[in-house]
């Protein structure tokens, strides 16, 4: 049953540790050590680096400064931020619109068909994402597969300039990130108690009302986690805009990569990373507040 699942999950996680205590301490400390070494420490380094300056000879140098952050107020950077949010948001929206009906359909399928469809969704992702993005170039380029077919069918007379455009970047992003939307949705929709849908129909709700008042609110957790899983990588996958967007599309991921590897301006790159991270933390806080707040919501 949908309601009560929280308690059940809590019950599942609750296991009395008696003789397992050593195993518990061991496995927990490994994870903590790992996170401290490879997540917390680099984050600390970046945080420190974002307040340092740089010159011709040193990547990082004293004195401490706010210069890097004030530089970010420049409209160039603000535009890139804006552009990144716009593209990642659009990508998330497209993934949601494409993924939701698909996930809903799969979740309703009988077990064997469901596994087959899930497998078909996963198989492409056994190949490296980079290779698949390269192969996408052959599909999208001027004399590529798509343009050739369209020309041959007589729909267009000269090749469409798809490659090295925002459209190409969007196709690449959606293609790469769609499964991250689909999987949380499927697990959530599977848990949806179909009797609730029947009950809504029985009480006089048409299909649209049933969807908007029952199905959508009950699958909202899946939608939100899917959106987060798509939105975050969409902002930072730098090789897709690089390969498919040419030099035109500059996203946050590319900006950070450029600052570190091309411009060799590590302090500025660090500052961008920190600001970006703060924005994401804010978004997550909003998400957390919205799900928490709903539980407390009282009679309107």
């Amino acid at each position: 049953m949908q309601y009560g699942s929280r308690g059940f999950r809590a019950g599942k996680w609750y296991c009395p540790m008696r003789h397992d205590n050593k195993v518990k301490i061991f496995s927990l400390s490994i994870i903590w050590l790992w996170l401290a070494l490879f997540a917390l420490l680099p984050f600390g380094l970046i945080a420190v680096a974002s307040f340092l300056s740089h010159d011709q000879t040193n990547l990082l140098s004293l004195p401490l400064t706010f210069q890097n952050y004030t530089t970010l107020r420049n409209t160039i950077y603000l535009t890139i931020f804006e552009q990144s949010f716009y593209l990642a948001g659009l990508c998330t929206l497209i993934c949601l619109i494409l993924g939701y009906p698909f996930a809903y359909f799969i979740a309703q399928c009988e077990k064997r068909l469901k596994w087959l469809l899930l497998l078909l969704t996963i198989i492409p992702f056994w190949t490296s994402s980079l290779i698949r993005t390269y192969s996408m170039i052959t599909l999208l380029k001027a004399k590529g597969v798509i343009n050739s077919i369209l020309c041959w069918l007589g729909i267009i007379h000269q090749p469409l300039p798809i490659l090295f455009s925002d459209v190409a970047v969007m196709i690449g992003l959606v293609y790469n990130l769609l499964p991250f939307m689909i999987f949380p949705l499927i697990t959530n929709i599977e848990r949806l108690d179909h009797r609730l849908v029947d009950a809504a129909r029985d009480l006089g709700a048409n299909r649209l009302t049933t969807f908007s008042k029952i199905i959508l609110p009950l699958t909202l957790p899946g939608i939100l986690s899917g959106c987060i899983l798509v939105f975050l990588p969409a902002m930072t996958i730098f090789y897709i805009p690089d390969l498919l967007g040419g030099s035109k599309a500059m996203l946050l991921g590319n900006l950070i990569q450029n600052q570190f590897l091309v411009a060799q301006n590590w302090p500025l790159g660090s500052a961008i990373s920190i600001v970006f991270m703060l924005v994401l933390v804010c978004l997550l806080l909003i998400y957390w507040r919205s799900t928490r707040g709903k539980a407390k919501r009282t009679l309107a």
Binding site: R195, L196, A200, R201, A205, N206
Partner: protein
């Protein structure tokens, strides 16, 4: 203009080549409390889904208020269901759950406020309006489910084993509440259950179903005292079945032969000489005598007590007759009964008052 709120005409349902329902004909009157009674798998729930519109009959037609409901989707039928699991919307408060139907009809806000408040009052849940369903007890959830369905004033309310998940005492209370609610609202209730006691105590009429067929339709008294066949008789209450042969037949009195003894029975069905019949006697109609209490045993069966089951208000005796047949007799604690205490192994005489038996044609 018909007085039937619902009519089934030759309704059959086949799922995956299996006959779930076979040629059902049934007329349900306005404002009655009708129970569909049958063991699980007899097609009761399928019949409800046909009436509510979630499934379409394979053949035949369903008329709601005189109109053919064929092809009408669930949300356009003026029929609501109280689901076995209640199916309350977990993301809505009690108030929002109850208001759901009215909101779907886009009623004005103050009307919704008023009607939800009234309905919550009827089911005694006004204090719980802002709670979420999962914070309520089973009985309270049950009441929300009923309130949510009756607020739309449906022509027919379908209740799919709504009491089965409640404990014994709560079930008893809810049975009375449901019956009172139905009288107060005047809505036709179609109540599904596999509990014969529930069916008998609540209904105006009982429909006994067995393997997709309607075996009998009648008042609780009719189906209990005049069962149409052996399956109805043995499903509703306990019954002892004796094989008998007609040896003499005069007007209303028929003499039959049961295990070599002559009995006079009253039969409502027409019988022929030498016809094989079943004589059915309810356990509470059997009279058990200790062997030394009896002087004339011509019309009695000899037996040995095999089991004594104490039930508080009654005692059930399981007696093995001389021809090895096991029968059950229920004894009440009557003051005028000489012997109340029986022990296993007691030799007894068993009989019943002539006319308290039921006679059915022989079935194999």
């Amino acid at each position: 203009m018909t007085t039937n709120v619902l009519e089934l005409r030759d309704v059959s349902k086949t799922i995956h080549g299996q006959d779930i329902l076979r040629h059902l004909n049934l007329e349900i009157r306005h404002g009655e409390f009708l129970t569909l009674l049958g063991s699980s798998g007899c097609g009761k729930t399928t019949l409800l889904r046909l009436i509510s519109g979630f499934e379409e009959p394979t053949t035949g037609a369903i008329y709601i208020n005189g109109k053919d409901a064929c092809g009408l989707p669930p949300h356009l039928r003026h029929v609501h269901t109280v689901f076995q699991s209640y199916a309350l919307f977990p993301h809505m408060t009690v108030w929002e759950n109850v208001a759901f139907g009215l909101r779907c009809q886009k009623r004005p806000k103050d009307e919704i406020q008023q009607r939800v408040a009234d309905t919550l009052k009827i089911v005694k849940l006004e204090k719980f309006a802002s709670r979420k369903p999962q914070k309520l007890s089973g009985g309270q959830q049950q009441r929300v489910a009923i309130a949510r369905a009756v607020i739309n004033q449906p022509l027919v309310l379908l209740l799919d084993e709504p009491l089965s998940s409640l404990d014994y005492h709560l079930r008893k209370t809810m049975q009375i509440e449901l019956k009172q609610l139905q009288r107060k609202l005047g809505i036709t209730f179609i109540f599904v259950t596999h509990d014969q006691e529930e069916a008998l105590s609540m209904s105006d009429r009982v429909v006994v179903m067995h393997e997709g067929n309607i075996e009998q339709v009648g008042t609780p008294r009719q189906v209990y005292e005049e069962p149409a066949n052996l399956s109805v008789a043995s499903f509703i209450g306990e019954v002892n079945i004796f094989d008998a042969t007609v040896v003499d037949h005069q007007e209303k009195n028929t003499t039959v032969d049961i295990q070599g003894k002559r009995y006079t029975v009253k039969s409502k069905i027409s019988l022929r000489l030498n016809q094989k019949i079943h004589v059915l006697v309810r356990p509470e109609d059997l009279v058990v005598w200790d062997q030394n209490e009896v002087t004339d045993s011509t019309n009695m069966f000899a037996g040995i007590v095999e089991e004594v089951i104490y039930k508080g208000t009654t005692v059930d005796l399981i007696v093995r007759l001389s021809d090895k047949q096991l029968i059950t007799a229920t004894k009440f604690f009557n003051e005028d009964d000489d012997k109340l205490e029986y022990v296993i192994g007691d030799a007894v005489w068993v009989t019943w008052l002539s006319g308290w038996e039921m006679v059915l044609p022989h079935e194999t």
